[in-house]
Structure formats: structure tokens, C-alpha cells
Amino acid sequence: MKKITFTPGFFILASVLIFFLDAEALFCVLLTVFVHEFAHIIMMKAFKIKTKRMVFSAGGLSIEYDGRYTPYLTEIAIATAGPASNILLASAAGYGYLNNPCDLWSLLLIFNLATALYNMLPIKGLDGGKMLQSFLSLVFDSFGVETVLRCLGYIFSVFVLISGTVVFFKSGFNFTLLIGAVWLLSVVKEKRIV
């Protein structure tokens, strides 16, 4: 890892998390993020790919690598590793919850499940988008890939936005999903590697 970058958005996100989450939830968030990114790094190491930069941003933590000479299937494997690790951890937490139903297990389960699902959305900048981008690159040229990704990005973002609005009014102003939707719309144009 040659470089670590902190964006202003990361510190705002950290401020919100440290203020609003109790120790248990904070631990679950950190463990979820750590496991997700560690899985990406492990997969990069397995394919002998050098990591270029670690970026702490408002969207969380992302790891950039030099993808110029990386085969598409390898890129798909790297992108899949993060959400897959979260699903494994969520499953472990689910079994833990069955044996000992406590808050820690339920939080760990929900955070991991949410992280895996969120990252698997086929939106450029997220793991799902990266998987789809690499997969489409096997078939289409770069313009076709960009067009498909951009369209899907907007379709999914708008879908989440509508769902967020419905949840906002139906649940008595729970704005979590709405914020997620706005964030997704903002990352549709953003370029991130992993």
C-alpha cells in the first residue's frame, strides 16, 4: 500500500458514527468494514496484484489497485470477495444469534447483510458495478459498458429513491434509505476502483 488518502467526507461520516452509535454498534460497523476490505486485499494478494491507494471517504473505505493489466475475471473475483465475506459473517452471526440471542449478533447480522446488499447493487463505484463492468467488458466495448452501467445506475438509484420516499412517509420519517438513495445517485458518476 503506497498511499492512504482521507477525504473531508470521511471525517464527517466518522463524526456522525462516533456521535450516534453506541460502543457495540460502532464495533459492529468497524468489524463489518474491516472484514469487507480485508477480503478484497486477500483476493488481490492471491492474484499478486499490488494495491495502489486506500481511500477513506464519505462512502466508507475503498482500496484502489492498478487494473490496467488485470484480467476481467480476476477483477470480478476481487469485487465479489467483499460482499461474499459479509454474507459469510452475517451467516455466522445468524447462527450465533440462534444459540445466544443478543444485540451484538443481531447488529452484526444486519450490518453485514446491509453492507453486502448495498455493495452488490449494479452501480458504478460499488462492488456490484465493478463486477458488472468487468463482465460486460468481456462482451461489449467501453462505450457500451459505460452506457449500460450508467443506465442501470440511474434505474437502481431512482428505484431506491422511490423506496426510500415510501419508507420515509410510511414509517414515520425514517430517512435512512432516503439518504442511501441520494448517496447512490451521487456515486453513479463517481469513479472508484473497488
Partner: protein, 314 residues
Amino acid sequence: MDSHSYLLFEVIRVQGQTTYRYSRVRSDNKSRKKPDLRAVKLFCAIVIFIISAAVRFIFPGFTASVRDEILGVLNDDIDYKAAAMAFSDGLTGKNDIKDAAQQVFSYLTGNEEELAVMAEGNKGDKGSSEETKQPEGEENGTSEPENVEYTKTKEELVATFTESKSEFSSYELPANTTYEMPDLNLQYVSPVNAVKTSDFGYRMHPSENKVLFHYGTDYGCSIGTDVCAFSDGEVTAVTDSASYGKNVIITHSGGTTTRYAHCSEILVEVGDKVKMGDVVAKSGDTGNATGPCMHFELRISDVYVNPDYYLSLI
């Protein structure tokens, strides 16, 4: 000087033909040297983070109250525990994976109506309605809540109970009490084999002759009847008070506690680990009791709830 000029040399190649172009471009210092806004933003963000962390650790009480106020809005309709249970049921094959996914989504979005509809659907799939209304483990006296059926029964129980308390509807519920039925993810048994004699909630107090809130349910039973642990847990208090008489408190997993009061004898000590169904005390009439009975209190996450909701499911 505020402005300066420089030469721009361009090489333009169009359809194999190369052309060169010189031009003089004027520029001013303002456009060349933009202030580094990123550094300013980063500095402000770091200051906000330091303030946030300092407030969190220096004024934990204030932080907790603000947090509870705001997160209350977000979490009111989100049942993380029920979602976790639904997901686990899907994993272990207790429930169909598709239904489990729908339940997790519904619990996280607080869509109770959808759950009710799903409960109806499952009822039809499984066959007789008697089976779907009974929680698992009825034969051995234990109860393992199953979310789908549980939700259906829960609404009926709460509606019936609330209606029975309608004459006290003008009274505001005391702090840390509820007439709702929070999910209880425990295996449990009835602490005593007896008939209910006094309900949870507001009632005309039998000896003081005024409306008072009753924090538990009374079960009439003769002195010396076995009082059993509601669920697995640890004995966290054994006391003898004027109102409760000899009583014992057991803490179970998931922030649930139970109290067994008016006992004649306590058979456990603080720190003892007890299993569901272990005899922990003998019933009696100690404390402020009008006769031999066992006063049973159930607290879920520090909120007193109606124990009869859960015991009636057994």
C-alpha cells in the same frame, strides 16, 4: 501585475494533415492560483470530528439523550431482533428462504401489514389454523416464538388486553411500562401452575381501594407451590421487601429480567445459574399480598410488559 500573457502552441492533426497554430493567451493571476479549498474542507471536517468525539466522551449523558431522541425516530418501526430471527430461521431451513427474505425486509421497514398478509398466506400453506396458532414446543411446556404466527397472535392479544383496560384509558402509563407486546426471543415455561388472579396494568387496588398500576401478573396458588425459572438465566437479586415480600430476580439473555414475588421461601442465591423450569422458590403470601399468590413481573429491555401475553401462548 494582475495579468500576464503566454504563447500557446497547438499541433492539430485531422485526416492525415498536420497543421500548427500559435496563439497568445491572456490570463490573470486569480484564475491561475485557485485557493486550496480541499485543505480548508479537510481542516473543517477534522475539527467537526474532534468536537463530536470530545462531546461524546466528555458529555456521555447529553450525547445519549440526543442519540436516543433522533434514533428513536429511525428505530421505532425497525425490529432488528425479529429480522435477525427471521434470517436465522431462513438459514436453518425452519422457514422458506423466500419468506425469510420477505420477513427480514418487512421487519427492517416496519411494514406490519405485509407481515400480517404473509402470516395469512403461511396459515393456508401449513394446513390447520390450530397448528399455526400454537407456538412450537407446546407439548413439553416450552415455547419458541415463531415470527409469522407470533405476529398474528400478538395483534389479537394486545387488542383484547387494551380493550379490557379501556376504563383506565384516561390514565397515562407510567415510565418504562407498555401495553404493547415486544418480541421475546427466549424459550420459556410458565413459572407456576396456577390461575391468574390479577392482571398487569391499571387496576383498582384491592387493599388500598384506588387505581394503581400493577407491574406484574398475580397467580393464585397455595403456599409452598413450586415457583420455576421462566427461562435460562442468572439470579441477580434475592431480597425481602415490604411490598414484594421475599422475591427473586433472574436475568435472562437479551436484556430480559423476571421477578417472582410474595414467596415463602427462596431456594437460590445471587449468582446462581438456573435453567428454564428449575424450582427457584416456593410461593407464599409475604409482603403486601392479599392472600397466597405469586406475583410475576417480566421486563424486556427495562420495560415492564404484560407477562400474560407470553404465558397465554404456552
